[in-house]
C-alpha cells in the first residue's frame, strides 16, 4: 500500500515537473542556508573554543594595585603591592593547582645581525602548566634556575621564526639589553589569544633573571601579576574567596578598605566570548530558519493548488473506495516527498557552500551530524505541517461534489 502510494506521489510530482522543482527550490534554499549558517556558526564556536583552550583553563590573574605619584595614577600593576611571597602563600590554599608570579614587558631581542621585539615573560616553572604550554624541543627551566637567576630562555614560535629563520634556535645565544641568554627550549604553537594578540611572539625566562637583568625593579620581590590556576571549575569560587581573604590579611587591609590588587577571572572572560559566538550562531540559524518557513509556505500553496486541480480525481478515487485517510495520506506523502527531496538537495548544496566558504575565505567551518539531522527532521516536519492542511481539505471533500467538479 505504502509502496503504491509512494509510486503515485512520485508520478504526481513528475506530472508537473517545473512546478515541483520550483516548490522544492524553497526547501533547497531553506535547508541549504540553515546548514551553511550552522556550519559557519559552529565553526566560529569551535575556533573560539580552540583559542580559549590555549589560554589555559580555570585561570585567575591577580594584578597589583596602582600607585599615585605627583597626582598621576599608574594603571593596574604599577604599584608594588603583590609579592613573590604572596604567590607562595596562595599556592598553599586548597583548590589551587598552579601559581606563577609574572613580570612581563616588551623587549628587543637580538641574535647576530637580526633583532626582533617580543613579549618577555619572567616567571616560575608552574607558568607552563597553568597555561598548558608544551615544549616541542629542548627542556623547560627549573626552580634552581629561578633561585640562581640563570640566563636561560624558552622561545615562542613567532619570535623564533623572526630571529632565527630556518635555523634551529636550540642552544643559540640571544641578547636582551646586552645580557646573553641561552635558548634551552622551544614552545609549542598557540596562535592568537581572545584579544587577537599573537601568543607565540614570546620569550619566557626565569622571574628573578627578568627582574634583575631585564626589567630592573626598584622593589625586589614584588611582581605585577600572579597567575593562579584552580584545580577545577567547581573550585574557582572557593579559591577566589580564599585568595582575596588571604591577600587582604597579608596586606593588612582593614574592614571597608578597598583591595590593593585587582582580580581577573579569565574563565569568565572565556565564557563570555564563548557565549557571544553561541548567540551569534543561534542567530544565524534562526535567520536561516525563516527561509525554511517560507519554503514550507510555498509547499502549502502548491499543494492547495494541486488539491483544487485534482478535485475530480479525488472524487473518482472516493467513488472506487478510497477512505478519507487514504486521500489524506496521498497528499501528505506528496508534500513530505517534495520537502524531503528539497532537503536532500539543500543538504548537498549547503555542505558544498560551507566547503567553498572554507576554501575561499579560510573561515573555520564545522559540519556536525547533529545539524544535518536537525535540518532533515525540520524539513520532514515542515512537509507534514504545511502539507496537512491541503491534504485534510482534499480528504474532507464531499465525493459527489468532487465528482461533479470540472
Amino acid at each position: 500500500m505504502l509502496k503504491a502510494m509512494l509510486g503515485e506521489a512520485w508520478h504526481a510530482m513528475g506530472a508537473n515537473r517545473m512546478r515541483t522543482v520550483l516548490t522544492m527550490l524553497g526547501m533547497v534554499i531553506g535547508v541549504g542556508s540553515v546548514v551553511l549558517m550552522m556550519a559557519i556558526g559552529q565553526g566560529a564556536q569551535y575556533s573560539v573554543a580552540q583559542t580559549i583552550s590555549t589560554m589555559g583553563s580555570n585561570l585567575y590573574i591577580l594584578i597589583s594595585g596602582t600607585t599615585t605619584a605627583g597626582g598621576l595614577r599608574s594603571g593596574g600593576g604599577g604599584g608594588p603591592t603583590l609579592t613573590v611571597a604572596d604567590a607562595e602563600a596562595i599556592a598553599e590554599l586548597d583548590g589551587v593547582a598552579n601559581v606563577a608570579p609574572v613580570h612581563q614587558g616588551t623587549q628587543q631581542l637580538v641574535y647576530g645581525s637580526n633583532n626582533w621585539s617580543a613579549t618577555v615573560v619572567g616567571t616560575t616553572p608552574p607558568y607552563l602548566d597553568a597555561r598548558a604550554w608544551q615544549i616541542v624541543s629542548g627542556y623547560p627551566f627549573g626552580d634552581s634556575d629561578v633561585r640562581s637567576a640563570t640566563r636561560v630562555a624558552l622561545i615562542g614560535q613567532t619570535a623564533a621564526d623572526n630571529l632565527f629563520g630556518a635555523e634551529d634556535p636550540l642552544g643559540k645565544t640571544i641578547r636582551i639589553r646586552q645580557s646573553p641568554f641561552v635558548i634551552i627550549g622551544v614552545l609549542g604553537k598557540k596562535g592568537q589569544n581572545l584579544d587577537g594578540r599573537d601568543q607565540d611572539d614570546t620569550l619566557i625566562i626565569p622571574l628573578t633573571t627578568a627582574q634583575r637583568k631585564v626589567f630592573g625593579t626598584p622593589f625586589a620581590g614584588s611582581v605585577r601579576l600572579i597567575m593562579v590556576q584552580a584545580t577545577s571549575a567547581e573550585a574557582m569560587p572557593a579559591v577566589e574567596k580564599g585568595m582575596t581573604a588571604l591577600l587582604r590579611q597579608r596586606h593588612r587591609l582593614r574592614e571597608g578598605q578597598d583591595n590593593d590588587f585587582y582580580l581577573r577571572n579569565l574563565a569568565a572572560a572565556a565564557d563570555s566570548a564563548a557565549e557571544t559566538t553561541r548567540v551569534m550562531s543561534v542567530l544565524l540559524g534562526a535567520i536561516a530558519s525563516v527561509s525554511l518557513l517560507v519554503g514550507g509556505i510555498g509547499i502549502m500553496n502548491i499543494m492547495l493548488v494541486s488539491v483544487t486541480e485534482r478535485t475530480r480525481e479525488i472524487g473518482i478515487r472516493m467513488a472506487i473506495g478510497a477512505r478519507q485517510k487514504d486521500i489524506l495520506a496521498q497528499f501528505l506523502l506528496e508534500a513530505v516527498m517534495i520537502s524531503v527531496a528539497g532537503c536532500l538537495i539543500g543538504l548537498v548544496l549547503g555542505i558544498g557552500g560551507a566547503l567553498l566558504t572554507n576554501l575561499l575565505s579560510g573561515m573555520v567551518i564545522v559540519i556536525s551530524g547533529g545539524s544535518v539531522l536537525v535540518a532533515f527532521g525540520v524539513a520532514a516536519g515542515v512537509g507534514v505541517f504545511f502539507g496537512y492542511y491541503p491534504a485534510h481539505r482534499a480528504a474532507a471533500l464531499d465525493p459527489i461534489e468532487a465528482l461533479r467538479h470540472q
Binding site: M1, K3, A4, M5, H11, A12, A15, R312, E313, I316, R317, M318, A319, I320, G321, A322, R323, Q324, K325, D326, P399, I400, L403
Partner: protein, 238 residues
C-alpha cells in the same frame, strides 16, 4: 426468498437552491433482487441521477431508508461506506472517469490498492479484467491513447476488479456512438448472465431494452415499474 440487494423506502432528497429547497426525490420505494438487470429511465430532472448517487453511497438521503445488502446505509460510518463502494459496488460513469496520467493497468488496479492487495496480486487481477473486456494488449497504454468505447471498457474492468455484487452505471453509453453503445451493453448483459446485479441509468429506450426491468422516474417519483417487453428484449440480445 433471499434478502433484496437494494431496498429503499420513502427515499427523499432535497437540494438547497437560491429559491429554497428543491425536492429532487420525493419518497421513492423500490426493491431490487440479486441478479436483476434494471434500467432507471426518465427525462432529465426526473431525479434518476440523484437516485443513482444515493444507491452508490456517494450522497446521503434527506429522508427515508436505504438498505444495501441488508445494511442500513444511514448507520454506516464514512470508512464503512468507502468499503462498500470499494468491494460491493462497481461504478461506471458517463464520462468514463479514468485517471489520465495512469496506465490502463494502474487504473484498473486502483480499487485493489484501497482494498489492500499486494502489487503482484493487483497486476494479475488487473490484467485478467482487462483481458475480460477485450483490452489485454493495452495494459501499458494511457487512457488518452484509446477510443471512447475502449475507455468505457477499461472503466468496466475497473468496476469489476474487486468482484462486486452490484454494478451501478450512470448513462454509460451517453458519450458513445450507437455501434459502440451496443457493444458496451452486450458486455453488461453478459456480466448480468454471470450473476452480477446491474442498475443502469439511461434516457434512451433502445439502451434500456437490454435490461429486463424498466423503472421510470418523473418529477422525483416512480411512475412505472415494468418488465421489458419480450420482443424488445429478444431483439436486443440476439
Amino acid at each position: 426468498m433471499p434478502e433484496a440487494i437494494i431496498r429503499v423506502a420513502g427515499l427523499g432528497k432535497s437540494y438547497l437552491t437560491a429559491a429554497g429547497p428543491f425536492p429532487a426525490l420525493r419518497g421513492v420505494d423500490l426493491e431490487i433482487e440479486a441478479g436483476e438487470f434494471v434500467a432507471i429511465m426518465g427525462p432529465s430532472g426526473s431525479g434518476k441521477s440523484t437516485f443513482m448517487n444515493l444507491l452508490g453511497c456517494l450522497d446521503t438521503p434527506s429522508s427515508g431508508d436505504y438498505f444495501l445488502v441488508g445494511r442500513n446505509a444511514a448507520q454506516l460510518g464514512k470508512d464503512e461506506l468507502a468499503a462498500l463502494r470499494n468491494l460491493t459496488i462497481g461504478f461506471v460513469f458517463q464520462g468514463f472517469n479514468l485517471l489520465p496520467r495512469m496506465t490502463l493497468e494502474d487504473n484498473v488496479a486502483l480499487p485493489l490498492v484501497y482494498a489492500g492487495f499486494e502489487r503482484e496480486a493487483r497486476r494479475a487481477r488487473a490484467r485478467l479484467e482487462l483481458g475480460r473486456v477485450g483490452l489485454g494488449d493495452y495494459t501499458a497504454s494511457l487512457p488518452s491513447r484509446i477510443s471512447g468505447g475502449q475507455q468505457q471498457r477499461v472503466a468496466i474492468a475497473r468496476a469489476l476488479v474487486n468482484s462486486p455484487r452490484l454494478i451501478l452505471a450512470d448513462e454509460p453509453t451517453g458519450n458513445l456512438d450507437s455501434h459502440t453503445s451496443d457493444e458496451i451493453m452486450a458486455l453488461f448483459a453478459e456480466l448480468n448472465r454471470e450473476g452480477i446485479t446491474i442498475v443502469l441509468v439511461t434516457h434512451e429506450a433502445d439502451i434500456a431494452a437490454y435490461a429486463r426491468r424498466q423503472v421510470r422516474f418523473r418529477d422525483g417519483l416512480i411512475v412505472s415499474d415494468l418488465p421489458t417487453p419480450a420482443p424488445a428484449l429478444a431483439a436486443a440480445t440476439c
